[in-house]
Chain length 192, copies 2
DNA sequence: ATTTAGCAATTGAACGTTCATTCGGTTGCA
DNA sequence: TGCAACCGAATGAACGTTCAATTGCTAAAT
């Protein structure tokens, strides 16, 4: 990542992200997180009360950054254009930031995610903007009136699945595959 | 291999599956796997050379069982019917066997999966039947001629995404949501 | 039919390592 | 002067793995 790290907290985040991507939750000791971030082990505990909290905070950090990025969209575009644009932005972002993608995927598949749900902390939920975006399409009659989670399964499910294929190396990152997916899901959800 | 051996091995598999589902890869010690399977810790090492090998074998075991189940389909059905049937079977199987689903998800998102890819062991790849099924639809002109991985993103991506929503408790396991998803992706992939 | 040899299966305490966390001390800045 | 930031060796618990000992089973030998 080419970003100039402004503080130690972000250095710790970036270090954790890379190590977890490489060795998984289990295989990344605090000592190595510290080493890669050029801080002492104890320093991490100045910012985070435990390893679990570090991982929870990192998840929030990743999700906020991702959401801020993908929903930064020109409101002058037509709904169809926005539908395509946001999907492509999400895929681009994840492919350019593989560590973020794999960390989020690992997190969602792990028991950590239940911890967050138990807390019932609204700031953990990042679905608000997605919900608004789909509601906009439904209310204006452009896309079919189906439930939010149905649309998420189709829109986000295909995007993450596609990113997995590409980062696994199964298929090349080529425009054709993306266009096909987008055309297919758009044909499926549009009203007519 | 006699019956007794299979029983112990399967008991270890089932125990591992449940514990990993509950505590994650990192949070499940061999001692607990043994306890839940009613065997001694050392016994596990009679069947598996290490914890990593146990997890790799368990992954193969889960994937084989899942594939055997979902592709057990009446060939007399029309292609569209099979398309709907297999998708529903996959979703049903995962919802009825949540530990299998979450284990596979965790595995795919973890660095373990790269280990398997490095081995280049064909027995690890379970995509053959899926590929044949899509080819059947393309050759007969029923579904659009797009790449295998595009179809996987749409077909499997939406299925796993839907299972996640349901097992997270975001949406009820009701017929409506499924029908909507299937109708949308079928509208998208069918020819013209 | 009984004995016996030998190997497979099983046990769980012990071992050595790794790791998250702590803490007493140091640095740097306001 | 005071306080936050920072350090890293020390601590103790947890964990994967080993191993010497025990049991159970099978089949050949008597």
């Amino acid at each position: 990542m080419n970003v100039q790290l402004l503080n130690k907290k972000e250095a710790i985040f970036e270090s954790t992200l890379k190590l977890i991507n490489e060795y998984g939750f289990h295989g990344t000791p605090m000592s190595q997180i510290a080493a890669r971030a050029n801080v002492a082990t104890g320093t991490i505990y100045h910012y985070f009360s435990s390893k679990d909290e570090l991982i929870l905070e990192l998840f929030k950090y990743c999700r906020e950054r991702t959401n801020d990025h993908i929903f930064n969209v020109d409101q002058a575009l037509s709904y169809k254009e926005k539908f395509f644009f946001i999907w492509n932005r999400l895929v681009d972002y994840y492919i350019a930031n593989k560590e973020v993608f794999w960390f989020i995927e690992q997190f969602y598949s792990s028991p950590y995610y239940e911890l967050i749900q138990q807390k019932k902390n609204p700031s953990y939920y990042g679905a608000d903007r997605m919900r608004l975006f789909f509601e906009e399409g439904i209310k204006s009659g452009i896309i079919r009136d189906v439930s939010f989670y149905t649309l998420v399964s189709i829109y986000i499910g295909t995007a993450t699945s596609h990113v997995k294929m590409v980062t696994y190396g199964f298929c090349k990152m080529q425009a054709k595959g993306r266009e096909d997916i987008l055309e297919i899901i758009w044909n499926g959800v549009k009203n007519q």
